[in-house]
């Protein structure tokens, strides 16, 4: 037992670094889902897209920070594409997301040219701090943490503005938003695009952190992110904008520590997806179970 605990303890810093990097995907899942009322799957494709673009940019000799920005721009376009497909062709947002995510797989493979592209020995956003004596993990926590704090503060500021309030209204009641002069199209495209850019940012930082881009790096990221979001919302709540914005970050930190516990305790990594899926199901089902027991089939039909 003691051995397990010390084993887990040794992994805590690595896990924190990992969760800070992945918290942007969770943010990218939260924004369309909770703020725009637009359940979206694009992140599963935008995350590796960000990774691929970042790897290509680094290979081409772009500075590490610029590579992040280029990746974010690509992610923004991916998000916009999903929103546009949904709005223009009236295709369900989930299906639009699946379409974009599937097509992005080919795009990512094209970009990388092979399924795995190493980017070792190039200067990354962490290099500066490592040069100044910080450990590898320490630098990752500092840099990813700083970006996370910046993203949180900027988003908080944005949602206090008129535009931010208008964007929330689109999620709360699109007809009412439209009747109050808000352009639902621009807000949805912009909001889902914003989310896409955060997914891509996450993938880009991850590539710089792990030293390679892989076309399959996004596999399962969505369900992990959803689980993290559920945990975050259970812990900090979602009643106010600040809480809703904090939930992805807190949730990700807790979620990956839990995963780490499971792995240290000897759960086969292959079983993690089943465990995560069951967990998300339980969290989503909780309100209907708590409320009135399982609804009767006929009740459901009458709705």
């Amino acid at each position: 037992m003691l051995e397990l605990i010390s084993h887990f303890w040794a992994l805590v810093p690595v896990t924190i670094a990992q969760s800070l990097i992945l918290s942007f995907v969770v943010l990218a899942i939260m924004i369309p889902f909770r703020i725009l009322g637009f359940p979206d799957l694009t992140s599963e494709g935008a995350y590796p897209l960000g990774g691929a673009i970042c790897a290509m940019a680094l290979m081409a000799g772009l500075p590490a920070w610029s590579a992040l920005l280029v990746a974010m721009a690509a992610g923004f376009l991916a998000g916009c594409a999903t929103a546009f497909i949904h709005l223009r062709f009236r295709i369900h947002s989930l299906l639009a997301g699946i379409l974009v995510m599937t097509m992005l797989y080919s795009v990512n493979l094209r970009l990388l040219g092979k399924s795995n592209q190493p980017v070792f020995n190039l200067r990354t956003i962490f290099s500066f701090l490592i040069d100044h004596g910080l450990s590898d993990i320490g630098a990752k926590i500092m840099v990813a943490g700083a970006i996370a704090v910046l993203a949180f503060l900027l988003l908080r500021l944005y949602f206090l503005t008129e535009k931010g309030t208008a964007m929330r209204a689109v999620g709360a009641n699109p007809d009412m938003a439209e009747a109050n002069g808000i352009n639902v199209w621009t807000m949805t495209v912009g909001g889902v695009g914003l989310a896409g850019s955060f997914s891509a940012l996450s993938g880009a930082i991850m590539v710089q952190s792990q030293g390679f881009a892989d076309v399959n790096m996004g596999f399962g990221i969505l369900i992990n992110g959803l689980a993290a979001l559920m945990i975050g919302e259970a812990v900090v709540g979602k009643q106010t904008v600040v809480r809703q914005l904090l939930a992805p970050f807190v949730g990700t930190l807790i979620y990956y520590q839990l995963i780490s516990v499971c792995l240290v305790a000897g759960l086969p990594p292959g079983d993690l997806k089943l465990a995560t899926g069951l967990f998300v199901l339980a969290m989503l089902a909780a309100p209907s179970l708590r409320g009135r027991g399982a609804p009767m089939a006929r009740d459901t039909m009458r709705d």
């Binding site: 008129e162 535009k163 309030t165 009641n173 009412m176 109050n180």
Partner: protein, 259 residues
């Protein structure tokens, strides 16, 4: 000033369930007119309101507001001119947002959203003052989430939101029909006060003939997508519930309710 010219809209054209909702409808309201629109179900009342707000495209015909042709202008850009209160209190407000945030959204109708702070102190004070006219104590509940308000409170909020910024046209779509009688009276009372004080050009749809007799300076009766008759001036002042009901082919209890 509102003018609807030869408005035509057919639903499901060429199909067995084809429905002519508007059949060459003409309507003209002068500035400050308060017209009550009556007519049986399917007469085209809601379609008319949707055509004016922009929520529905016309097959042919035109809509003018203040002399400007707005027929091709989408809802969100027509919102500068047109405000609307729906029958369903849920429709006119954003449930998961606070009272103050909803008031801010209403302000954005005539003042497009920008990247500047939304709920300032000055705005909150202004919203509190606007809400205090309702005498419902809502000025003390600025930070209450709208979903926790009662139907009457939500509808009163919708009304205040609709009249902020003095819209050119106010559309009231059976806005008291879903409320209990006492609350309906309160909301109707607030409506009349606002419309009178701000001299709003108003189009109110109702099934309640007493409302048609008591309020407004004009009555417009729709039938099969056209204006069947209009009353104005002394004719409107002398209108009676029985007189109005006699124009309906099918009479329902709802028309007489409260008469």
């Amino acid at each position: 000033m509102l003018e609807v010219q030869n408005a035509r809209r057919v639903f499901f054209p060429g199909q067995p369930d084809e429905k002519i909702a508007l059949d060459g409808l003409d309507l003209k309201l002068a500035s400050g007119d308060f017209a009550v629109v009556i007519g049986s179900n399917g007469a085209g009342k809601s379609t008319l309101l949707n055509a004016i707000s922009g929520a529905l495209r016309l097959d042919s015909g035109k809509v003018f507001i203040n002399g400007r042709d707005v027929t091709a202008i989408p809802v969100h850009r027509r919102a500068v001119h047109v405000a609307r209160v729906f029958q369903d209190p849920m429709k006119g407000t954003a449930a998961t947002m606070t009272v103050a945030e909803n008031m801010l959204l209403a302000e954005l109708r005539h003042n497009p959203a920008r990247l500047r702070r939304g709920l300032t102190k000055a705005r909150r004070a202004f919203y509190a003052e606007q809400l205090s006219y309702l005498h419902l104590g809502m000025e003390n509940r600025l930070d209450t989430v709208v979903s926790t308000l009662s139907g009457g409170q939500r509808q009163s909020l919708s009304l205040v939101m609709a009249v902020t910024g003095t819209p050119d046209i106010l559309l009231l779509d059976e806005h008291t029909a879903a409320l209990d009688p006492r609350t309906a009276d309160l909301v109707m009372d607030a409506t009349i006060r606002a419309v009178t004080a701000l001299k709003l050009t108003t189009l109110m749809v109702t099934h309640n003939m007493k409302h048609a007799v008591d309020y407004g300076n004009r009555v417009v009766m729709l039938d099969s997508g056209r204006v069947r008759f209009e009353l104005a001036g002394d004719e409107k002042k002398n209108a009676t519930v029985a007189g109005l009901v006699s124009h309906f082919a099918v009479k329902t209890d709802r028309m007489l309710l409260g008469a």
